[in-house]
């Protein structure tokens, strides 16, 4: 039964993508997109309920974000058609890319074989480039090219690491970390995620910048990579992202950089053997980042939740970090304080007023609150 549910979760977006490729009307395409993601959420919920494994919860997060984004992306597509940054053919490509991206992310999350995960990520990167480059302007096209090149380099390094796993595990760890960190938009191949988040279609950018990086993080938890490497890469991403947040950037670039800094905290948490904290932070980051992007920088509460999340993670990480080395707390706390103060300084005033924007934002914030308070208490119990 669980196997069948997993198969449906993966197959449904691919079947939807094939159907969408033949639908000329963008309105019907948008309805199919919404229907498919909503149905996928129901199946993903049943899968998480039945199995209770960590991967199924990540599948549920992916389908929840995909569903809430698809509910309201008709507005974005309609606005882009009016401003002529999309035409009907590009809108069709966009919907096909959207479904392929979700399907590939779900396949990579549920796959066991490292090569199968790699193949699924190749499809995901190709679909992410389609979604990012759908808009008919030079900046979006350049962002898609940058995404393809940097994620391509990351994927080549990751495949090298995967091939070396059996022959030279020490060397393999380096390449897996370098390669998949690139796909996650972390140091040193981080440049694609900022431009993809800023230049792509708003709803597509949410999917690309929020959901694609989760799969490499899951892999870091599964593979046995040297903890020192994970700590170093995590701190490098955190500190670079936190410092870059102080530059004058538009809010979407700011959210992308803050996301990179917080993914660095997830990698750090895996490095100090605090996998439950890494899991919790990954899920909360996905939800708050999606809420901020869906609120279009108009909701103070969503922004504050996103800005204060690093402080919450620092509180949870303090004990495991001290257990490894107390000195590690210094760069970790410095990065967190830099990032949090920069984010709080950019906080918008007011809350999302129209129900179309507010519903998914508040739904996700409610889940964040529930998880942030309930999970650590449950773990302690």
């Amino acid at each position: 039964m669980s196997g069948a549910l997993a198969l449906i979760v993966v197959a449904l977006p691919f079947i939807s993508a094939i159907v969408l490729a033949f639908i000329a009307s963008w309105r019907i395409g948008a309805w199919i997109n919404t229907g498919s993601t909503s149905l996928q959420f129901v199946v993903a919920f049943a899968l998480a309920w039945r199995t209770g494994v960590a991967e199924a919860h990540l599948v549920l997060l992916t389908s929840l974000v995909a569903m809430t984004v698809s509910w309201f992306d008709r507005r974005d597509v309609a606005a882009a058609l009016v401003s002529r940054s999309l035409n009907r053919q590009r809108a069709r490509f966009y919907h096909v890319g959207y479904q392929l991206l979700i399907g590939a992310i779900q396949a990579a999350t549920l796959a066991d074989d490292p090569i199968l995960i790699w193949l699924a990520l190749v499809v995901a990167v190709a679909a992410a480039a389609v979604v990012t480059g759908a808009a008919k302007d030079t900046a979006a096209s350049a962002a898609a090219s940058r995404l393809l090149l940097l994620c391509g380099v990351g994927l080549m390094l990751a495949l090298l690491g995967t091939l070396l796993l059996g022959m030279a595990p020490e060397l393999a760890g380096w390449f897996l970390l370098l390669g998949y960190a690139g796909v996650a938009g972390m140091v040193p191949l981080q440049f694609w995620i900022v431009s993809a988040a800023a230049e792509g279609m708003p709803s597509g950018a949410i999917i690309v910048s929020t959901l694609l990086p989760n799969v490499p993080m899951l892999l870091f938890m599964r593979l046995s990579i040297a903890s020192g490497l994970l700590i170093a890469f995590g701190l490098a991403s955190l500190l670079l992202g936190a410092v870059a947040l102080w530059a004058r950037l538009d809010w979407r670039r700011g959210v992308a950089l803050a996301g990179m800094a917080q993914l660095g905290m997830v990698a750090f948490a895996i490095g100090v053997a605090a996998k439950p904290v890494a899991w919790l932070h990954l899920i909360l980051l996905g939800l708050t980042r999606s809420a901020v992007l869906q609120s279009r920088n108009n909701d103070m509460i969503a922004w504050l939740a996103f800005a204060l999340l690093p402080l919450y993670a620092l509180y949870l990480l303090a004990e495991p970090t001290v257990a490894v080395s107390a000195w590690l707390l210094v760069p970790l706390a410095a990065g967190v304080l830099l990032a949090t103060s920069a984010l709080v300084g950019r906080c918008p005033s007011g809350v999302a007023a129209d129900w179309a924007t507010a519903t998914p934002v508040w739904l996700q914030l409610a889940i964040v609150t529930l998880l942030a308070f309930a999970l650590p208490a449950l773990a302690a119990g």
Partner: protein, 174 residues
């Protein structure tokens, strides 16, 4: 013979760093694909033939057909690029010697990383695809050193998915 093929693949990879014309680079890539497929041919002949057909014939031909001029000079200081390439080779060879890896594996890792260096350091339209194609040849070489290559891994190595994607993306952008 196998060792010579590995060395030739690595030498062609170094030569790619200083090639100025795209057609010359495509020829070098084709030759490199042939050399890289040789060690794999011993254990998986069909995969080696497929890898050569795709990495050595199809993609270089596509690259030449899509291109219409010479490659521009390196974006960064040539001295810096050569220093980075040399440092990369020294580090890989010393690490490979430390962990007791074979020469084919060390050559494959070096070719893959030099290809990545080429993809990242040159700024013109087509070179990233060329660099990633050279990297793919390095992966074929690593697969040739692998004692037990699974079917999925053979597919991932023989079919140049990432260089093909980057090339297709560049074509569409044009």
């Amino acid at each position: 013979m196998i060792g010579a093929a590995g060395a030739a693949t690595l030498l062609l990879s170094v030569a790619l760093l200083c090639v100025k014309r795209i057609d010359t680079a495509a020829w070098a890539c084709a030759l490199q694909a042939l050399c890289a497929a040789m060690p794999l041919g011993e254990s998986a002949a069909a995969v080696a033939v497929l890898a050569f057909a795709l990495n050595g014939v199809m993609l270089p031909l596509a690259l030449v057909r899509m291109n219409d001029g010479a490659m521009p000079a390196l974006r960064h200081n040539a001295l810096l690029v050569w220093a980075m390439a040399l440092a990369l080779l020294v580090v890989i060879i010393s690490v490979a010697a430390n962990i007791g890896a074979g020469e084919i594996m060390a050559a494959g890792v070096s070719v893959t990383l030099l290809g990545v260096l080429l993809a990242v350091l040159r700024s013109d339209t087509w070179t990233p695809a060329l660099g990633l194609l050279s990297s793919q040849n390095g992966l074929v070489l690593v697969a040739g050193a692998s004692p037990d290559l699974s079917g999925m891994a053979a597919f991932a190595v023989a079919v140049p998915l990432v260089p093909g994607l980057v090339l297709a993306g560049m074509r569409l952008r044009r």
